[in-house]
């Protein structure tokens, strides 16, 4: 195993910090994220409040740490949904009979015709805003991307030299599927998911920022951004720090995913 590079070490440390913040926030921020203190509202960063306070005097640092769990949860759930859907479509296309491949590819192409967040917005317009719908919406919007990747990976494994060698050795379809195809497709899938969590976090928080996801006063980063929107000119810290948390989460998970990918390739 190679020694971890500087980049890997830093992103790994950030991810560990995030996990701690998500599962045991009181270790990092002992205060109460919902505690209101009207006299201390709109305070800039200081020793008492390292990241400032919001419009109700709540400590931003505490809210950000406690907000890690819901914010990351939405991102992870949306990724799971997207990957799940993507795998179903991709495997059907890559490993199934020809007619199934054509059908699922057409379906994915149709979904692809709606770029970026548009599919999510359409879904929310019909089903209404809220944390559940925004999670489902992001999952739907990311699914076509995964489907394409899974399908191409499944196809390349299916046509590979070692699967053909298995045919020559006399292995049947199910045996090849179980012993060779699925395990090799599975290893890349995990790496892809790690890369995708970052994007899901960004999209989910964008929807919250626009008022279509989680709403205040929940300590969720996107919701905090939403309430800070109106005060951007005068009280910049209310938008800046939650946003920074989002950027760090997305960047560190992506970098970690990338390093996993290059390690897997080297093997």
């Amino acid at each position: 195993m190679r020694r971890p590079s500087v980049v890997e070490a830093i992103s790994g440390a950030v991810v560990v910090l995030l996990v701690v913040a998500a599962f045991a926030p009181t270790l990092l921020a002992p205060g109460n994220p919902l505690a209101i203190d009207p006299l201390a509202s709109f305070q800039p960063p200081s020793w008492a409040h390292p990241l400032g306070t919001d419009e109700s005097g709540r400590d931003l640092y505490t809210r950000i740490v406690h907000g890690a769990a819901p914010s990351l949860l939405i991102g992870v759930l949306a990724t799971v949904l997207g990957v799940g859907l993507g795998v179903v479509l991709g495997v059907a296309g890559g490993l199934g009979p020809r007619w199934l491949d054509v059908t699922s590819t057409r379906l994915v192409e149709v979904l692809f015709a709606f770029p970026g967040l548009l599919l999510a917005l359409l879904f929310i317009a019909i089903a209404g805003p809220g944390p559940v719908t925004s999670t489902v919406a992001v999952g739907l919007a990311t699914a076509p991307g995964y489907a394409r990747l899974v399908r191409s990976q499944a196809l390349s494994v299916r046509r590979s030299g070692y699967v053909e060698a298995a045919v020559v050795l006399g292995r049947g379809w199910w045996s090849r599927l179980g012993r060779h195809i699925l395990p090799n497709v599975g290893t890349t899938l995990f790496v892809l998911a790690t890369l995708g969590v970052g994007q899901s976090i960004v999209w989910a928080s964008s929807l919250s920022y626009l008022g279509l996801g989680v709403s205040p006063p929940a300590a969720e980063w996107g919701a905090m951004l939403n309430s800070g929107r109106t005060y951007i000119a005068s009280f910049w810290w209310m938008t800046f720090f939650p946003g920074l948390a989002i950027v760090l989460s997305a960047a560190s998970t992506t970098l970690l995913g990338r390093s996993l990918q290059s390690r897997a390739r080297a093997q």
Binding site: S160, G161, A165, V168, L169, G170, R179, P183
Partner: protein, 533 residues
């Protein structure tokens, strides 16, 4: 009056950062104008590094030192980047192997040839264009105007290599470095390219020819230097070295080459042997000597003159035809009415230019492809016409060896896992009998049992091929289909594998369908030959 040699190297040393052993460890040589010096060696001998350090392109992280390293009288080690750029192309032209990747696939061939003219001459664009066409025509490319406007992907392998040569000599360099110029080519095309290189020598240029192939060297070079582990271990006139090599390594290189070696005679012997012992090769055919080449009508059948007493044929093909078409590409008819027989215990060699359908025929024999017409029987029973479900049980009788064994191994598995899987036939529980069989297979192919825990990625090319052979033998097959099994291997390793295959054939009574583009290998290994045109 002595003329200065074009290249003079004294005590050349090249070292790469991060590596203990030097790549080139103090070699000296000269090349005069109108002379071709061949550098021969296997991979890792340092021959390519030597060539590239003549123009300062040894690679990043390299240190090049020499008492003297002069090209056309100028000291190469002291040149700065700009001076080196002026040297390259104008004084030294380089031809690399495999023009498919050595020419930019996105640029027009004419532009690639024009590069050296643009950089090193003061000709006008109109003059350069005329010169490019001259160069292409001189390199033996018909219809140069058409070819100059095409990209490398549109030319055949031979034409591409000629265009690459034209590009290298465009600015009239005094020295040409040819690094394995014919390795990727068919034997027919190879001769044309070699004579083109020879013509440059006749015109007074100095040529440094790098090759692992002694037959290429024998025809093209006046002098030969043999390299091993970064040192020149033997040097002299080509005829002398090939006739009477004095160094053991050179002798093993010559011994390992299958050219002219009779059937069933091991290539690597433990005693010292020189070519002289083989010079008096018997011309009269006996059952085990070189196959007699006869041209027969395609549908006539003949019986082998070997003592095969059974009537069962390992493979019996009658009128196979197949064509491929997909919605996106054209329809290609690959095989038309091909018939052959492979008797038990013998080898049928399969040759033909690229694209003639050798691999397709192999796949039909393995039951991976169904022919559009015709039939192929395996061990006396129908094979190609059966549905897969009925074939599966008999698949143990036929096995396959590929040119690139790495692609045929699941990247997640170790050697032991691969062989155990082959032996158990997919059963999940392994028994002591299975482990014993795996050990038996490993020793049959000459691999240490300690290799079981390694991944094929960490093995050498020769070791990987042995693992592939072990896996193919797991099911105790009667027939093996071998598709270019030694083409990617160095000469001595190739000889080891060929000897192993020969030994296994005699011990286990195997029948081989052997594909290769190397006619020497085919002639050495086959009892009969099928040529696809």
């Amino acid at each position: 009056m002595t003329v200065e040699p074009v290249v003079r190297a004294e005590n050349l040393r090249v070292r790469f950062a991060g590596s203990d052993a030097p790549a080139v460890d103090g070699i000296s040589f000269t090349i005069a104008a109108g002379e071709c010096l061949a550098l021969v060696g296997e991979s890792g001998s340092g021959k390519s590094v030597t060539a590239r350090s003549l123009v300062g392109l040894a690679g990043s992280g390299s240190t090049v030192l020499a008492d003297r390293l002069e090209v056309s009288g100028r000291d190469v080690t002291g040149l700065n980047r700009r001076a080196l750029e002026r040297l390259r192309g104008a004084t030294v032209g380089t031809i690399s192997q495999d023009a498919l990747v050595a020419l930019d696939p996105l640029r027009l061939v004419g532009r690639e040839v024009d590069d050296a003219l643009r950089l090193h001459t003061t000709l006008t664009p109109v003059q350069r264009r005329a010169r490019v066409l001259e160069l292409l025509a001189d390199a033996g490319i018909p219809d140069p105007e058409l070819r100059a406007a095409q990209r490398s992907g549109e030319l055949s392998g031979g034409l591409r290599q000629r265009a690459l040569i034209a590009a290298a000599i465009a600015a009239d360099p005094a020295l040409i470095v040819a690094d394995e110029p014919t390795t990727a080519l068919d034997s027919q095309v190879r001769d044309g390219v070699l004579s083109l290189i020879r013509r440059q020598v006749d015109r007074g240029r100095a040529v440094l020819l790098i090759s692992h192939d002694l037959s290429v060297v024998g025809r093209s070079a006046e002098r030969v230097a043999v390299m091993q582990n970064g040192r020149i271990i033997e040097e002299g006139a080509t005829a002398d070295i090939l006739r009477a090599p004095s160094h053991p390594y050179t002798q093993s290189l010559l011994a390992a080459s299958p050219a002219g070696k009779p059937r069933h005679e091991p290539l690597l012997l433990r005693t010292r042997v020189t070519l002289r012992d083989r010079v008096a090769a018997p011309a009269s055919p006996s059952p085990h000597t070189n196959p007699v080449a006869q041209v027969l009508a395609p549908t006539a059948s003949t019986t082998a003159s070997t003592p095969a007493s059974t009537n069962t044929l390992a493979l019996d093909a009658r009128s196979l035809s197949i064509a491929f078409s997909t919605p996106r590409t054209a329809t290609r008819t690959v095989l038309t009415d091909v018939s052959f027989t492979l008797p038990l215990g013998l080898t049928l060699g399969l040759v033909g230019p690229s694209g003639s359908g050798k691999t397709t025929l192999a796949r039909i024999a393995l039951g991976l492809q169904r022919p559009d017409a015709g039939e192929l029987d395996l061990l006396g029973s129908p094979w190609s016409s059966l549905p897969e479900s009925q074939r599966r049980a008999r698949r143990g009788s036929i096995g396959a060896i590929y040119q690139d064994p790495l692609g045929s191994f699941d990247p997640r598995l170790t050697v032991g896992a691969i062989l155990t899987d082959a032996v158990t036939g997919g059963r999940s529980r392994t028994q002591p009998a299975d482990r014993a069989r795996v050990a038996e297979l490993l020793s049959q192919v000459g691999l240490a049992s300690t290799l079981s825990n390694r991944r094929p990625l960490n093995l050498s090319g020769g070791q990987r091929q042995r693992v592939a052979i072990a896996r193919a033998l797991a099911g105790r097959p009667r027939v093996l289909v071998l598709d270019e099994p030694v083409s990617a291997l160095d000469v001595t390793i190739q000889a080891q594998i060929l000897d192993l295959l020969d030994e296994l054939q005699r011990e286990l009574g195997l029948s081989y369908l052997f594909i290769s583009h190397d006619t020497d290998v085919i002639t050495h290994m086959s009892d009969s030959v099928l040529t696809l045109v």
